[in-house]
Amino acid sequence: MEKILLRRSLLVLIAVLFILGGISCSKAPDQVTLYVRAGAESDALKQIADHYMKKFNKKVVVNVVGRDGYTASMSTKLLSGSPEIDIYMVPSTMIPELASAKVLEPLDTYISTKDSDLLVQNTYKGTTYAMPIDISVLLFFYRSDLIKKVPETWDEYLETAKQFSQKLNPKSPTKYGAAIGALAPEDLSKAFFCMTWSFGGEIEKDGKPLFNSQGSIDAANYYLKFFGSGVTTPEYLSWGVIQIFEALSKGELAMAAPQWNAVYPYLKTTDSPFKDKIAVALIPGIKKDGKIERKSFKHSWTLVINKASKAKKDAYRFIDYVVGKEGARFYATNSVGTPARKSILTDPEIIQKRLEFKYVYETLQFANSEPEIVNYDEMINIVNTALTRILTKEKSPEEALTEATKRETRK
């Protein structure tokens, strides 16, 4: 008799566990759920979400997800059509693909007036699908206490770095002289595009991919020279913005370019002994006819509304606040985010608190952005593969980049 009781109670326990497992968290009717990538933007979003919750008494939940593979997991969730997440943080480059897959809610019906203060208009084929919440450009960071003459060209950058690498100059106060982000997929491709433009090249022509322009080949050769010179870590393929940020804050790195503008305010929030010694400047360029010609890189992080969401109006209200003038002001003054608004970036009062805004706005004047194509992730994968082959010396820059141009299947 006890055996039967034991067996039955075991079955009941298992059944209870099953039921417990099956229950998913229930959402409040007007709750807005976000899915964002860990980083400066997520910290900023969490702060502004708190502010929004207190001000308007509406519930906002921010899910922060790790950086590695964020675009993969985010696109997987978004493409799955499940209604659980209302707002996704999406890089502007992914909007064409997501819009074509019809998983983004068109925002034109929600927007009442066209906002010309915004520096980015995230439209695809004439329809607005996203609002820009954060803008990023590539700048130049250096230790102002160690470096008095700021390098203006890439060659000067390399030469200055040699003085500050312990491998080449045992008396150097810093371990590494300089660092270029080479971590796939994001840092590697974006920094390379920036260098390509800086060296006078292009990455597309008449809507077709072009990765073997002379500028790209020069950039690739510069990479080989730079990474082989000993001025940077031998683990450079694993160094992205996070590792470079850590190295700067520990005082092990003297310069970093091209590097994201968010590094600067983020450093200020740490208790690093070097945070006040790290200065920002415009990205180095190329000397042409006696003048310095600079080119940089820009891209924006945007918020989109999931087409399958059940709280679209509330979601748009949140986005409207965060991207709007008032929200952007809060965003700029209380967090490390960089709103994509001209008025905020040029406001003298805000610039007092966020010194790098001056450089961000100036860089935006000569910054290019990547092509808006439906197979963006495929392009990035192909470019990164080519770059990895170049850096491991398996192929020459010309070979690898020409092959990359052929492999990309753009429609």
């Binding site: 593979g69 493409l79 074509s100 997929p185 870590t233 031998p234 683990e235 197979n375 495929e378 990895t388």
Partner: protein, 323 residues
Amino acid sequence: MGSSCSGLSGEQPMNAKTDEIIYRVLIVAPLIILLGVSVFPFLFVLSISFFNVRSYNLTAHWEFAGLQNYLAVISDRENITAIMNTALYILYALGIEIFIGLCIAILLLYVNEKYRLPLVLPFLIPMLLSPMVVAMLWKQVLSYDGGLLNKMLSIFGLGPVVWLSPEPILNGNLWIQQSLNLTHGFVSLLLVELWQWSPLFAAVFLVTFSLLRREVVHSAIMDGATSFYIFRDIYFPIAKPLLYGLILLRIMDMLKVYETLWVFFGNSSVFANINIRLVTTGIEIRNYSYCAAFSVVVFLLIFAVLFIGRQLLERAGKLYYAD
């Protein structure tokens, strides 16, 4: 036990009917679930591979593509690299694993019997760890600045090494070393694999060798056999059946390696193996048909290898069937 009847197989207690139903359900249920989760998705994958399906037209019109995806898959250098990486990994890892396992087992044979088990147990712990934990742990141990291994090496005065890089390990010809995957990163992968799984072979050898009766070995020694012959003709044949089964098991598990690669190198095309390539094409690039075609090609490849392997083993009469 509550049985009320005495020996007549026809009569059964009252709850026999429900028990009978439960019995049948428990046999059929797994088959249905397995069918649903393995066969149907496979058919779906097969059908997608003949079209041009990407993330943006999954729910819209599918353009017919015939064998285009298969041609693209076969001619793409990345896929060939991935398959080669997987194959070389299995080859190197198996060879060295068996050797290390053998060494540990022989050492264990010298130890007094009652101390063997407590001595073996620490070796078995790595086997049971989660691949994710192992990957994360070794990523820290092998990192260049501040990693455990480099710190230990510096105690002995040896320079820090960049373990997780595609640098070749010797100073010679680059192309040869890269083709044979003799790079630091690959060595790191093998290190983790050997650390986790050599003890499995050690345990198998130990179990089979200790079944050997001492008299057999002693008589062989008296007959004048050297250590080499004793090993080849006495010890090895005992271990063979279990060894072959274990090799098959290990090959199947090595085909599943993913977490270590992802944590160490991300999607790096230099180190990608079949799994990484599948995830890259399916989830990152989201060219679903291409990924589907690659999956089918991988299936066929594995079947082909298994089929050839079985024919060879059957031919040599070494296959044991437990039917």
